[in-house]
Symmetry: C2
Subunit: 351 residues, 2 copies
């Protein structure tokens, strides 16, 4: 028998701070660039086409001596049963002995690491003086994207929010977002500390819902897309020089959020080349021949470790396509396990 930690959603939400998750995800990208990680093949199964599926993503962080998996199910009809559509579980193991270390609810960790991923794309690829952020999509993930990007960037002054289907959602989110940021993200830091002051200031900016996406795009320096769209929401002719895109929503064959022709004029970066060309925003432009796999400049980790160049001029249009890798979940889980250990939180069970 072994003692292992079980960490549920509430404990994880209580102890996990976005600044730390951004650092963790940067660390994962760095380790990947240094070839200190291994991604195992993904297992995907549809129980019912378009209605219910599951995937198992797994991998090994050699540098940190952990491996593990995240199993995520999506049951689109779950609301009828008062259950969330997405349910995820993470298991972390010691790669020196094979021993299980922890079992964690994946929901909050997924939101946090996905928010961090989009933000890291902006941090390394957007213009440093970027002031205007446009958030496309108002779902669960958008709050994480906004929180992470404000923490990762230094000069954002305005956040515009656009919902491609229902403007009312954008209005509601723009009205509630500041309070959410304060309650859910700033509250993780001790009042009066440097980091508290810094984040407090970054969150104290202007948020507005927008109805005219064309105009909003023309006003933006950083655009984050996080929708389930299957057709472009942003056309190439609207995009001004110097814009950065972090494309978060496309994580499955056929999904697309921005005009594939933008890829033809942009410097393109991804988190994992294989995933990007198969299931990411990069899939359609590669399939349509607008770019080839070889036109992808680098994985983001190579930019962080300076093996590859990021933005070259203020005029560059940059795209960061993130599909998400299990390694982000695993290292974030390790962080949560370590904090829970320190604080004596979570439930320890014998397995």
């Amino acid at each position: 028998m072994f003692k292992i930690k079980v960490l549920n959603h509430d404990v994880i939400e209580e102890i996990l701070g976005m600044k730390e998750v951004i650092e963790v995800v940067e660390k994962v990208y760095t380790l990947k660039s240094e070839e200190k990680t291994e991604l195992f093949p993904m297992v995907f199964h549809e129980f019912e086409r378009g209605i219910a599926d599951m995937d198992i993503k797994s991998g090994h962080l050699k540098g940190i001596d952990i491996f593990g998996l995240k199993l995520v199910t999506w049951f689109g009809e779950n609301h009828k049963k008062n259950l969330p559509p997405l349910i995820g579980t993470i298991m972390v193991f010691d790669s020196k002995t094979g021993k299980p270390l922890g079992i964690l609810n994946a929901e909050y960790i997924t939101g946090m690491r996905t928010g961090a991923a989009g933000a890291i794309g902006a941090k390394y690829l957007a213009r440093k003086d970027s002031e205007n952020l446009l958030m496309i999509g108002t779902g669960h993930i958008s709050t994480f994207q906004i929180a992470a990007t404000l923490i990762a960037m230094d000069n954002i002054k305005t956040v515009r929010i656009y919902d491609p289907i229902n403007h009312d959602n954008a209005r509601k989110l723009s009205e509630s977002i500041k309070e959410t940021l304060m309650n859910k993200f700033l509250s993780k830091y001790e009042v009066g500390t440097e980091i508290y002051k810094e984040i407090n200031e970054k969150f104290d900016i202007y948020f507005e819902a927008v109805n005219d996406i064309k105009e909003a795009v023309s006003l933006s320096d950083v655009i984050i897309t996080a929708t389930p769209s299957r057709k472009p929401l942003i056309m190439k002719k609207w995009v001004k020089k110097g814009t950065h895109f972090s494309c978060v929503g496309a994580d499955m064959e056929g999904k697309q959020e921005i005009d594939e022709n933008i890829f033809g004029v942009a410097r393109v970066y991804v988190d994992d080349i294989n995933q990007a060309v198969n299931v990411g925003e990069t899939e359609i432009p590669v399939k349509k021949g607008i770019i080839t796999k070889e036109n992808i400049i680098a994985e983001i980790g190579d930019v962080i470790t300076e093996r590859a160049k990021g933005r070259i001029s203020d005029d560059d249009i940059t795209i960061y396509d993130t599909t998400g890798i299990a390694l982000q979940d695993l290292l974030t889980s390790k962080l949560v396990l370590d904090i829970s250990e320190e604080k004596g939180l979570g439930v320890e069970v014998n397995l």
Copy 2:
């Protein structure tokens, strides 16, 4: 948050009876034959070649509305750290909602379902009047093989035990096996019941260690091989007509326990055709061209459901090659979860 059950090794060992596991594994084979199951692709990773690896086997029991995975690690040097080399964890999910139902230690379940698999091969393919069982191998799994085969068969009178490397192990096992069977397997049933009496009688037979494998083979009706061998231990010319083999040990490319030429004269059955020809005892004979994949008569489930013929005459040599499928672990886990629910055992945690 969800409530899920965590069942550790001791609880599982306490409540799981072999007769029920044999029924469960038969049910799995039946469902597989009726195409009510799905096996997902296996994920395999070597941390260090020949020293440490892990695999994730997963699948879906459509008929029972559960799916899940078993992650097994093998770290060959773990004894130096006072840890077992094999560590396994099973996760069971509801395939109607994607909700996790339980997390179980895989060790005892694996032993039980593997024992049951070998025994089911003998039950359906050996001569009904088989009296002599030969157990090749004296490892952890052998006790499960013997217990299951005695429960599944009706006329076994002698069990011979052979260890290919160290005769002393065979001697020790033959001296202790009756007590182990009584304490570990009979004890699951209530004294005085029909099933108790039946199993008690079946266990009260003659056990002996043997040194001369050639002679032992010639005396045996049923032979179970459960060793990590990579070369044949039993040669074709030793095998008498009517013998049944349940080959359990080979579960990885290159492993082999019986002379590949026996396949040329035998009726060959497997648990899963793809696994058998890739990693089972059937691998080498197919690779050497002694049989082709098409010569495999059927998966065992088709014999149970009478879609395929088993043994035709008392003279047939039959081989059952079992590599093990995640579905066995999942349905056995479901049984354990159900019993633990009834008995109020195990730990319930919020995830």
